[in-house]
């Protein structure tokens, strides 16, 4: 944690340090250190509070078979819902971003960009209500069709949920929720593609699609991945929408996306069980929170690593 400052020779005349400079540099340094302290504080809290659950014997813990068998289906549910969301949202977001930056007329692009950003401002509880009251019942006939025609694929195995509150539904709702983040960042990097690159491609006789494929996408790839990872972070941690919509129970590991039996996600499980929990049950929930914390940390580190690795040959230089 050293603050990089321009190299200074000890003999060079000292710059005049006014009180304002000192106060500001102290404040900035303090803010930086505070972030680390908060992160460390959260880590220490999670570790200390989950310790009783980590050391307790299997019989004392909720569920059967100990902590790992309790948390594992939750991890699976969390990753599954977030993966569906990412698979749906990323191509859509890239498409939106490309349309706004390269296809849409200027005025339409502005309006469209504004509307997509507005999606990010909708509170997740509202998405929850929308999902359960509007989207889920309308998906039921579609799910019936899926089971009848594609039921041989394990993903669409029956019996179909009568209410539509399934893993696929929550994946779609999460996709809508992360769409604005991914598309905003993609849009940002696509607009930064050097005009020279695009003009050169067009001058060589490329069509617009070829230009996008050869100049825009390679340049923006790292930004898109970074945006997708940020979206993934939100999808992993989403709580209220999942708690309301998903019909999650102790269903274990199942890839059936359209039935009533779904694994719950970590965040939603904590929100649902915490109010009536006491003693060791609380420690167990905090331990599952620790797992979520580690997962999101890993995702962020992965995103950073990918972005840094790509930065060297992105064409930006």
């Amino acid at each position: 944690m050293t603050v990089t400052s321009p190299p200074q020779e000890p003999t060079a005349p000292r710059a005049v340090r006014r009180p304002g400079d000192r106060i500001f540099s102290g404040g900035a340094k303090g803010a930086g250190i505070l972030i680390l302290l908060i992160l460390a504080g959260v880590t220490v809290f999670l570790l200390a509070e989950s310790l009783p659950a980590l050391t307790a014997s299997a019989e004392e813990l909720p569920g059967e078979g100990g902590l790992v068998s309790y948390v594992w289906p939750l991890i699976f549910g969390t990753l599954l819902s977030a993966t569906i969301a990412l698979l749906v949202a990323t191509p859509l977001a890239v498409g939106i971003a490309l349309f706004i930056t390269h296809y849409a007329p200027r005025r339409l692009a502005q309006v469209l960009g504004y509307v997509v950003d507005l999606l990010a401002a909708i509170p997740s509880i509202v998405y929850g209500f929308w999902g359960i009251a509007w989207l889920a019942p309308r998906l039921v006939p579609f799910y019936r069709w899926l089971e009848e025609n594609l039921g041989f694929i394990p993903l669409f195995a029956g019996p179909v949920s009568a209410t539509g509150r399934t893993m696929l539904t929550i994946g779609l709702v999460l996709a809508v929720m992360i769409l604005p983040i991914v598309s905003a960042i993609s849009r940002e990097v696509f607009t930064q593609v050097p005009t020279l690159h695009t003009e050169a491609a067009l001058a060589l006789g490329a069509t617009r699609w070829e230009m996008i494929r050869m100049a825009v996408i390679p340049y923006g790839k790292s930004g898109v991945i970074g945006g997708a990872m940020l979206g993934l972070g939100r999808a992993l941690g989403e709580t209220m929408a999942v708690a309301i919509i998903l019909s999650g129970s102790a269903a274990g590991i199942t890839f059936a996306l359209i039935s009533s039996a779904n694994p719950q996600t970590i965040a939603a499980n904590i929100a649902l069980q915490f109010p009536e929990s006491t003693g060791l049950d609380v420690n167990t929930l905090i331990a599952s929170g620790l797992v979520l914390f580690v997962i999101t940390l890993l995702v962020n580190m992965l995103a950073r690593w990918i972005v840094n690795r790509r930065a060297d040959f992105s064409g930006a230089n």
Partner: protein, 372 residues
């Protein structure tokens, strides 16, 4: 001048004393405006003032709002603060001395009773059922307006052994109904809840053969449709044709409500039938004199009793350190069990008023509350 100084000193010392007393009581998170106006020695009728702090069962929350509002018209200077942290949390806070009374869906267990002795002294605690709410088995089945279900059938449906509405077991209970060929979607609570705890307790007691699971606040059978909260269950049942779930009777709305088999007959849930089963239940032996923890007669066969009920206790000390607290608890509990108080809860939460027999029993505990 001299006089005014003296007055101020007295006021200060009173304030200080009450602050200290409060600290001893442990009501730390409540800024209390103890006016010191509580008349010592008289339980009801007199003007009381102060703040009563309780915490616990979220099932009682709506009823408690009704009680707090109703009590406010009787004793306008008393504030009742109730934090619906959950039954376990409520018992914990009360035993730690953080609150004056607890609301809990379950009575204290052995370990907690020992702790209660530390909290309240040798005279122990009172535990009384002041809140009774019938739990209805609600269903959504087009063309079937009346549904009878024996305990074994209910257990079979919720254990996912009976999976279609035209199952012979359901037909046997309903000889006159035309049951469709439709898969059953059982809906359960996704969150840890007292409703689930009471419902599974009923199934385990009344249909042990068809229900192999332990009673628990977390729904034990995987694979059913899970929904958050009573409102979530009601809307999920409403949304899916062929769905069946369990919810507070007061929240059932337009959904069909099943009659439950008790002995030879089928009983519809109602306030009277729910109060009757509590009245007919045995008080657990070997606890304190005013500890009216009951063993609910879930497997009752008595006519007119509806056994799927959620009961919630009020738990407090027989002997409080502070006269003021004792007066407040005594007066408030007196209001809660009164006909007026029970009606307030029924209006606010749709609960079933307690019977006169229960009221008499609980009154004896309230009369015993003192300060020492």
């Amino acid at each position: 001048m001299k006089l005014s100084t003296k007055t101020r000193a007295t006021t200060l010392s009173v304030a200080l004393a009450s602050t200290l007393a409060l600290a001893a009581c442990g009501a730390s998170n409540e800024s209390e405006t103890a006016g010191g106006g509580s008349d010592t020695g008289s339980g009801g009728g007199s003007e009381l003032s102060g703040t009563l702090v309780g915490a616990g069962s979220s099932a009682q929350q709506a009823a408690m709002q009704g009680w707090a509002a109703g009590y406010n018209s009787v004793q306008p200077d008393v504030t009742v603060n109730y934090d619906p942290v959950g039954s376990g949390g409520g018992r914990e806070q009360f035993l730690a001395g953080g609150t004056d009374f607890a609301g809990s869906d379950a009575a204290l267990d052995e370990e907690e009773l020992a702790q209660a002795e530390e909290r309240c002294g040798p005279s122990g605690v009172f535990e009384m059922v002041n809140y009774i709410a019938p739990i209805a088995v609600v269903y959504n089945l087009e063309g079937v307006d009346e549904l009878n279900l024996s305990p074994e059938t209910v257990a079979g449906i919720f254990n996912q052994q009976i999976t279609n509405w035209n199952d012979p077991a359901i037909a046997a209970d309903n000889p006159d109904a035309t049951l469709p060929d439709l898969p059953i979607t059982p809906v359960n609570r996704a969150d840890d809840s007292g409703t689930t705890d009471n419902f599974t307790e009923y199934l385990a007691a009344a249909a042990a053969d068809a229900w192999p699971h332990e009673p628990d606040g977390v729904w034990p059978v995987p694979g059913g449709e899970a929904a958050q909260g009573t409102s979530g269950v009601v809307s999920a049942v409403g949304a899916g044709n062929g769905a069946i779930g369990y919810a507070d009777l007061s929240q059932a709305g337009d959904l069909g409500v099943a009659n439950i088999g008790v002995g030879e007959e089928f009983v519809a849930p109602s306030a009277e039938a729910a109060a009757a089963v509590v009245e007919n239940s045995q008080t657990v032996e070997g606890r304190g004199e005013y500890d009216f923890a009951i063993e609910l007669a879930r497997d009752t066969t008595e006519s007119g009793n509806y056994p799927i009920v959620l009961v919630s206790y009020h738990i407090g000390c027989i002997e409080y350190d502070e006269q003021e607290t004792a007066d407040l608890v005594k007066d408030f509990m007196g209001y809660v069990i009164s006909e007026e108080g029970q009606q307030a809860a029924a209006d606010a939460a749709g609960s079933a008023p307690i019977s006169d027999g229960l009221r008499e029993q609980n009154q004896s505990a309230i009369d015993a509350i003192t300060a020492g």
